[in-house]
């Protein structure tokens, strides 16, 4: 209750400021800054902000020691949307997405500044506990990383530690539903006790997705979830993402612009640690406003 209240109080004021800022930068870029110099511009083109967002990021900076990996990124993640993050390798997509559930805490020398709010609560506040945060904001990693345990235990682990199931049959149910959602149930229902690592790479990735959704997160972060998958498995995952959108917010990092176009409603383009452009997916791919975005999506580099 308290959080929702905070959010309402906070929301309109900040939004005004944001839109204000936005119109100004847009003018600046389009009118006065030549495209060649755009790289040096830290401000974002497009519409990084939405009404009634689930997550709000403001002026987020990430440093690995002295390396400034993410610069002044401000972005909202809406409810029931899939937001795709694209950009050339090493531009900081993974780094940014890992900020959203504080997975960067585990990296020595990684420092995050700025604000990231989940339902109005700054997740980098001192009193915020990362354990429930990560139950709320689940993550699927770039490389499939199932536990070296049985398929069943892989999926059941999260619900078990959070006490989501009252008894064994409830747990069985969670496992089955999660595996079904991840499109893996038919393939593994007869060998749930086999090791999760005995699956193929694509199956492992779907197992990791099942493991993530078993906890019932509200936001799911996916870091190139399909990079190890064949087109059929990719299709299944994309269907799953579309379905999950009904309940969750999803941020997905991808190198495939077709995929971004297929699954996402909004797309964010990163370049060397800057968030260059955010917009409706169809609009960003057909009419990019920024020169760098245009170069990237037309394949001139990256």
């Amino acid at each position: 209750m308290k959080m929702a209240f905070q959010q309402e109080l906070w929301q309109p004021k900040e939004l005004d400021v944001a839109t204000d800022q936005l119109t100004r930068t847009e003018e600046k870029k389009e009118l006065r800054i030549p495209a060649e110099r755009a790289q040096s511009v830290g401000q974002t083109v497009g519409k990084p902000f939405v009404d009634n967002p689930r997550m709000i990021c403001r002026e987020v900076n990430v440093y690995y020691g002295d390396k400034h990996a993410i610069r002044q990124v401000s972005l909202d993640i809406a409810r029931h949307e899939v937001i795709a993050m694209i950009g050339p390798s090493g531009c900081g997509k993974s780094t940014f997405i890992r900020c959203l559930n504080r997975m960067n805490d585990t990296i020595d020398g990684c420092r995050v500044t700025g604000q990231i709010l989940l339902d109005g609560q700054n997740i980098y506040d001192r009193q915020v506990d990362v354990v429930p945060l990560r139950a709320q904001v689940g993550m699927v990693f770039q490389k499939p990383n199932p536990f070296p345990k049985s398929i069943y235990d892989n999926v059941a682990y999260g619900p078990k530690i959070h006490g989501l199931a009252r008894n064994r049959s409830e747990l069985d149910q969670i496992v089955e539903i999660s595996l079904r959602k991840a499109g893996l149930w038919e393939e593994v229902k007869d060998r749930l006790s086999q090791s999760g690592t005995s699956l193929s790479g694509g199956q492992q990735q779907r197992l990791c997705i099942a493991r993530t959704i078993a906890v019932g997160p509200e936001v799911i972060l996916m870091d190139e979830p399909c990079s190890a998958l064949d087109p059929i498995a990719t299709g299944k995952i994309e269907e799953l993402i579309d379905e999950l959108r009904q309940q969750y917010s999803i941020a997905i990092v991808t190198h495939s612009m077709q995929q971004a176009a297929r699954v996402s409603q909004r797309t964010a383009y990163f370049h060397l640690g800057d968030l260059i452009e955010v917009g409706q997916t169809d609009q960003l791919f057909t009419m990019p406003r920024h020169k760098l975005t245009q170069d990237y999506i037309t394949g001139r580099f990256g």
Partner: protein, 415 residues
Amino acid sequence: MSRSIDIVQRGLKRRYRAERRFQRLGLAAIVVSLIFLALLFASIVHRGHGALFQTHIQLNVFFDPQILTETDLNAADYSRLVKEALYAMFPAVSGRNEKRNLSGLVSSGAAYQLRDMVLGNRAIIGTHQEIWVPADDDVDMIYKGALARDSGRLSKDQLAWVDQLHSQKKIEKQFNTAFFRSGDSREPELAGIWGAACGSFFTLLVTLALAFPLGVATAVYLEEFAPKNSWTDLIEVNINNLAAVPSIVFGLLGLAVFLNAFGLPRSAPLVGGLVLALMTLPTIIIASRAALQSVPPSIRDAALGVGASRMQMILHHVLPLALPGMLTGTIIGMARALGETAPLLMIGMVAFIVDIPHGFTDPAAVLPVQIYLWADSPERAFVERTAAATLVLLLFLIAMNGAAVVLRKKFERRW
């Protein structure tokens, strides 16, 4: 296009030659080390197998009620029973010297054997019994052929008596149960390793109970929780240093701290275990840290990603994966502790202890110290017992290393 494949072809022969050379070198190294190991084993077995058997002499003992007066059966003169039985077998023997020589054929342990029989069953008082008693170690050595008959250890008379016993089939080699069941003794034919084995067992139990949990906990803390700063660097350097400190230093520390400052009992497995735990700790810590480091970070990410706390991540995922490596390190450390003598000398575990220890504070010897003590003894019969004790120590080690392999197989997971 064809040029690079030509170059590859030309180099190919050289590459395969190098590979074969390397393989042969490795094979040769293994063969050489196996030969040395086989030589070691063969020589120990060759020297030690004799100790498996002990010459016994059959006596017809009359449990004389006049000697075994009811008043004090414990202190009765059992050796007289033995002597009387011998005199009865060789009625021709007379004269004090001859009689002394004759009774010298039988071990002084025979008297204890009779006492135990009487105390166990008083009904045998007044009866005649055929009993096998251990022969004296010199008789044993000459009968087994380990000593020459003309070595001077036995007189002519004694040799004749032994021959007579042999023709009567009243002397024979029997399995040496005493060696596996009793503690140390001044008489080789009575000396056994059970006391030392028990001492080693209790000592290692203390070592394991202390060093394993402490070592693992230290490694987990340093690896997973401790901030990386100059303090932890300092600690790391010190731990690595401790691993290289000569073991005698730990003995000196034990003497100064555990015996003198804390007043713990001397020669006790408790103190031995404490000292060896200190010595083993660095090995376990280093091995455990290496094992923790080898757990792939993706597993940690996976656990944290579903909302496991740090403790849950470590207990549920990291430790099970690191356990095989930790166990290997622990068993290597324990094996070293099992073979260690120097630090134990400092805390009095080198004492001559006959009684078999029954607890952690009873005075005890350990296997390597027992070997050292026997190797130092002048009697010929101790030579084979030294080798046999070494064999037992090696069997202990093989069992421990086997356990390590089994445990590692059991806990090892592949991905």
